[in-house]
């Protein structure tokens, strides 16, 4: 199964996984990494790198939380060593969508990423405007 890696500032990655599992069940193929205040960034980068390299054959999609944030920057740096799809700006709807795709037997990575980017454009809504449109 395709692996999903979530890499964020603080406990967001683990909390996203926990929240997603309330909606889509156990998530054995989701791995979380966090930049914590004062943490060893080189060691963290090594751990993420090892996780990506371990899943190169089955396929891996990596999410970070913030454009130009530290997890994003570390992943860009790792992209010089490994090739992997990386989407930044992860949120709960996007994660759930990714999990659903990862459970499909024969979905190709490029296809999933393309679909996720399409989905991402439409997953934040102004509820007031939505109600007014009904």
């Amino acid at each position: 199964m395709i692996k999903i890696i979530i890499f964020t500032h603080g406990g967001l990655s683990g909390a996203l996984k926990e929240s997603a599992s309330m909606l889509v069940g156990t998530l054995d193929n989701v791995e979380c990494f966090s930049v914590m205040p004062g943490c060893d960034l080189d060691a963290l980068s090594e751990q993420v790198s090892a996780s990506i390299s371990k899943s190169q054959e089955d396929g891996v999609i990596v999410f970070s939380d913030l454009f130009f944030g530290t997890p994003f920057n570390i992943l860009i740096n790792l992209s010089q060593k490994h090739s992997f799809p990386h989407i930044t700006g992860v949120n709960l709807p996007l994660l759930i969508e990714a999990v659903n795709y990862s459970r499909q037997e024969d979905a190709a990575l490029e296809y999933i990423v393309k679909e996720l980017m399409e989905f991402s454009k439409d997953c934040i809504k102004d509820a007031g405007a939505f109600i007014a449109s009904l």
Partner: protein
């Protein structure tokens, strides 16, 4: 010599705290990152350049040679922020005759050989000795994550 408004040790170099807090609170229009590794990493260099907002110019230099950039005559209205991962870069600058009044230590994470110095800051014995030498040369060495935080003098902890 260039006017250094903020000299900062931060192992994450340019990131959220720098972009949202420091740049917005000081009239900085030049950022110089002094980092041997980054100076050789074209992709990361492009990323950092893209991260910097309009109106701010980013330069990246290796440690040896950074003093030449900062030693150039100052242009009107030009204010530098200098970023590096370790204090020894700033000792190199001071030894080359570049001056700044305060070194803000904002981020030095855990690493083999480092011990907790204060809160989330870790430093090796050599890094502590380096900061102490900077203090002896008249530089105030302080801990401050973001400008709204109170400065904490690191001198007594070295």
């Amino acid at each position: 010599m260039k006017n250094i408004l903020v000299a900062r040790v931060d192992d994450r170099l340019i990131h959220g705290q720098v972009m949202t807090a420091w740049i917005k609170n000081y009239p900085i229009n030049k950022i110089l990152i002094v980092d041997d590794e980054l100076a050789k990493n074209q992709l990361m260099l492009n990323i950092y350049k893209a991260a910097v907002p309009a109106g701010i110019t980013l330069q990246v230099a290796a440690k040896n040679g950074s003093e030449e950039i900062l030693g150039q005559p100052v242009a009107a209205g030009e204010n530098y922020m200098v970023l590096a991962k370790t204090p020894e870069v700033f000792e190199h600058l001071i030894n080359c005759g570049i001056t700044f009044s305060t070194l803000v230590v904002g981020g030095m994470g855990a690493k083999p050989g480092r011990k907790t110095l204060y809160r989330n800051l870790s430093a090796s014995e050599e890094e502590k000795a380096c900061m102490k030498r900077l203090e002896e040369k008249g530089v105030r060495v302080v801990y401050q994550m973001v400008p709204v935080d109170r400065e904490v003098a690191l001198g007594p902890m070295l």
